[in-house]
Amino acid sequence: MGRQHHRIGVMFSTTGPYSVVARSMLNGALLAFREIAETGSAFSLEPVVVNPSGDLSRYRALSLALLGAGIRHVVGCYTSSSRKEVIPCFEKFDGLLWYPSHYEGFESSDNVIYTGASPNQHVLPLVDYLASRVGSRAFCVGSNYIWAWENNRIFREALTARGGVVVAERYLSVGDTEFDQVIAAILDQHPDFVFNNLIGTSAYAFFRAFRAACRVRGIDQATAIPVASCTLSEPELAEIGPEAVDGHLSSSVYFSSLKSPANDAFSGAYAKAFPDGPVSSADAEASHIAVKLLAAALEQAGTDDARAVRAAVANQRLFAPQGEVRIDPQTYHAWLTPRIARSGHDGQFEVLLEARSPVAPDPYLVQSSPRFAVAMRCPALRVVQS
């Protein structure tokens, strides 16, 4: 009997506004495929790589094409809007989407395995850090889609519960790089910190423009108004450039500067396999984990049937670059290790805090949010045009 052969979809927008992170995710996934092939498992995996180019309609069309070609498992998506766009396809064809990125939670499709961080593993630890060590007045900026809306909502409720206040929220279209008005508003409010949910090219432009605007006014941005994110990763630091790369806070479950034999092996193999970059990131690690878990579940299930693989992945444990990772059998999200870090001039993160052990996923914040939503004050409106 010959070895089983499974074709696995790999769907990342390696061109478009958030292509830098997506290319690192593709690299993380491809590295895992190579490693699996080298270990000589009972089956062979063939990655089928597609690129939706950041176009939502192409995500849906490509998902249908992959599933229609008999592929049952796809590792892919970075943005929540793209994930939500393709979930109905996976539910219709009973496929499994292996989603390898942090997200805002409040979702648990039976056709998705979530290997990135849940909100209790990224935004809530960040609120704790900021409220206890940085300040209580936040200015929120974000890309205008569900990730930023919901992550800001969770952030606002958690910060308000700790006595803090969000002085303003501003949203820009994905890919927008015009920040003059937003930066003027931030400098006018002079918050204790900025909470950033911009993604891709918008984020890089914002970091550069904000640093430059502060410098003109004699403000040391990194210490006076630091920017904190749940998205910022190493390949993005490279995109921001040397003038504005340092002093940014990031909450993540993985940083490439982590010191461990597993991470040394991963980082070394990644750098060797992809010398032209982009460098590895938390989302690259999550993609690597997704493929490794998929392979382990396929091996245990002995078939690529989605239900059998889903059952097999429950409670799978993996010694990943970030530490031990396992899939929670109730939510099909991952136990991960939250960390807070600050970026340095070298384009790497220095870890400031980390959880002692992996933290259970809580995608609906059942264990970590108040029973009632925080009552918001009525907005203080003023007439801007009559």
């Binding site: 539910e91 648990s108 609906y364 264990q367 009632f372 939503a373």
Partner: protein, 220 residues
């Protein structure tokens, strides 16, 4: 007063009135993710066995299968049309008669059968919060009704003070000021004022604020 949205259902108990055929597994497993445990009361002789007195609106949510006609007899308040706990209708046969039966049981949201996991949070969120919103609105309505009934006492109290030489505005201002000082509604303060004036000295028959605030006051 700002309505507070309930968004975390941890500690909740779903009482699912349905015959177990397999479709309810998705509902149950999704509810677990939301921190809600499920119970299936027995249906004996066409009636579901629920202890209505033990239901707690802060904890319990009733999921009622509309295809089981007449198995649930819960006490829906005739005035407010509110059930004792939030009710979510499970809809199989989408017929007006069955939907009407669920509405009459006080259902504030619905879930189609077979249940899709992605619809449960929305349905629970809407069902519970609409129940809370309607409860709060009814409470406000009752309060306004009570005050409306008390307006006659306000008019009488103003006339009483005007008989001592005050004009209408001054009489009203004095009553309002004194009611605020007494931390009572204007209507209640006026009722007690009139009661004190009308009462023979040393009478033990008092109108108490407790009775009024308990909501049992009726039009004179």
């Amino acid at each position: 007063m700002t309505f507070r949205v309930l968004q975390n259902f941890k500690g909740g108990r779903a009482i699912i009135v349905a015959r177990r055929n397999g479709w309810e597994v998705t509902l149950e497993t999704t509810l677990i993710k939301l921190g809600v445990v499920s119970e299936y009361p027995e249906i004996v002789g066409g009636r579901v066995q629920i202890d209505a007195g033990a239901l707690q609106p802060e904890r319990d949510i009733l999921f009622i299968d509309g295809d089981l006609e007449g198995v649930v007899a819960i006490g829906v308040d005739t005035a407010s049309r509110l059930p004792p706990v939030p009710v979510i209708g499970l809809v199989g046969v989408e017929a007006p008669s069955r939907l009407k039966a669920l509405v009459n049981l006080g259902a504030t949201s619905f879930l189609r059968k077979p249940v899709h996991g992605g619809a449960v949070y929305t349905s629970l969120f809407m069902g519970v919060n609409q129940f809370l919103l309607r409860s709060e609105m009814y409470s406000r309505l009752q309060n306004l009704e009570e005050r409306r009934r008390g307006r006659r006492d306000v008019v009488r109290a103003i006339i009483l003070l005007m008989q001592s030489g005050l004009d209408e505005d001054a009489a009203y201002s004095q009553l309002r000021r004194e009611s605020m000082r007494a931390r009572q509604s204007l209507e209640l303060y006026c009722e007690e004022l009139l009661s004190r004036r009308a009462r023979p000295p040393h009478s033990s028959c008092r109108t108490t604020s407790e009775r009024l605030q308990g909501g049992s006051k009726r039009a004179m």
